[in-house]
């Protein structure tokens, strides 16, 4: 029996007085790629932020069996969850290399340099620009940087918030190909929140559809692609 990596149940999230998530339930298994789809305002970003401890929540979130719902963000990172926020969230004034080093902040081992090198191998453009400030990078390059930074903490679970946002289609394709490779080679589990349903479902194992703070549909990605309602709403009929 595979132990569930992330188990979320009855999760509600509130911003001040407004409840954004109304008791959602989902799970992620190790080595999976799970996708959460939904329109703007459905609560996708809030879901990821809830997992990272950045929003007020009730309900239960269990990671590797341990409850993380009331933990502070810096503690959750140390548990093995890395979050690439919407809009990349790079540190614009810091250099590319410094950004990566911040990603490794929670680590104190000797392999940080080695991991930096392998990151540069994967993304040569980051190596070229490693002394430049992150703010001077293009959107696609910043996305590469953001994901690499998240990986520097050697997470078990990678949360990605709308990685395709604002990027040209070819770049998005390349990006998601890399995600697939990462998952296959490193075994990194991923929970991706996306509006671009087509490309997300193409590489995911399972998917959920979030509507107005509730899970409307869930299932295997292959089946969701063929689902009529989903096709109409998200895949253009």
């Amino acid at each position: 029996m595979i132990k569930t990596l992330l188990e979320v149940d009855e999760l509600t999230a509130t911003y001040g007085q407004i409840e954004v998530l109304h008791g959602i339930k989902f799970h992620v298994q190790p080595n999976e790629i799970v996708v959460i789809l939904g329109a703007n305002g459905a609560g996708k970003t809030t879901t990821l932020r809830a997992i990272s401890g950045m929003v007020e929540t009730t309900g239960s979130i269990a990671f590797n069996g341990d409850s993380i719902i009331d933990l502070e963000p810096d503690y959750i990172v140390r548990k093995g969850i890395a979050h690439v926020p919407q809009g990349r969230g790079t540190f614009p004034e810091l250099t590319v290399e410094e950004n990566l080093r911040v990603g490794a902040f929670i680590r104190s081992d000797n392999e940080i340099k080695a991991d930096l090198d392998s990151c540069y191998e994967t993304y040569p453009v980051l190596y070229e620009r490693r002394m430049q400030s992150a703010g001077s990078l293009s959107g696609g390059e910043q996305q590469m940087l953001a994901v690499s930074r998240a990986l520097m903490s050697k997470p078990e679970l990678l949360l990605l918030d709308e990685p395709s946002l604002g990027l040209a289609p070819q770049i998005v394709e390349g990006l998601f190909e890399r995600f697939k490779k990462m998952n296959q080679q490193l075994g990194t589990t991923m929970l991706i929140v996306e509006q671009n349903a087509q490309i997300a479902l193409a590489m995911a194992d399972r998917g959920y559809v979030l509507e107005s703070g509730e899970i409307a549909v869930e299932g295997e990605a292959k089946l969701l692609v063929n689902d009529d309602a989903i096709r109409k709403a998200y895949l253009g009929g």
Binding site: M54, P85, F105, I106
Partner: protein
Amino acid sequence: MDLFLQRLFDALTNGSTYALIAVAMVLIFKATTLINFAQGEQAMLGAFIVLQLWKWGIPMWGAVVIGMLFSGILAACLERTFIRKFDPADHLPLVIITLGLFLVINAVAAIIWRFDPLSFPQLFPSGKAVTIGNARLSWYSIFAFGSCLLVLFTLQTLLTKTKIGLAFRAVSSNLESSRLCGIKIGQTLQFGWALAAAAGTLGASIYAANPVLQIEPTIMLRALIFSITAAALGGLDSLWGALLGGLTIGFVQSVVVQYIPFIPNEMTLAAAVVVLLIVLTFRPSGFLGTKTVERV
């Protein structure tokens, strides 16, 4: 010409002090986007602690170092107890708290040490180092400026080559992402406050060590406006800008104001406020700051 040079030398002296306090303000601003109105008073209290330690027999520079440490710790406690409870985006309560600290620290210093001027240890050798015509550049000025540079280089190294320095710059660059990378924001901010207080204490100590001045609790009151203006002028999030701003304000104070015939001496304060007005209204990022400073 000699008078001009002399005034230039004076500018160096005062400018260095303003620069150090401005550096302190920039540190806190970088970390928290907050302007700490109590910075000058914290610095003054630190200088008094240095004085007291010296009076108890601790060698001069030892007293300075311990004083800096102590004010750093005090500042960390202040941050933890008062500042951390507030949402950094809501400026009003934070402004009010730093104003409150301003009053309290000033009063405490006055209660402990009274208002009588006291002699501060001479940290630097006395006498003139360089004489050009009638203009004399004292050792004090040179060392004051030198200390300023030393502080800036140390901060630069600290911030770029250490882990906590990296954390500090990360927090100042993107607070939310810093959280997501596991940086403990509270501790990092405390570190910033401690550094700022230490820099401020050094600045006030150097100021008080001026052979022509004596220390008393109101010593930093005037300097506050000049330092804030210096920080704004240089760019509120730029450390080197603080140095540049400090020297510029020193220059404006000693040189420019003297050469505008109808403005009497009192107007140095007015000049500083006018500079502040111009900077904040037309170029809030100052000389070297980043351009995303809050605007309507």
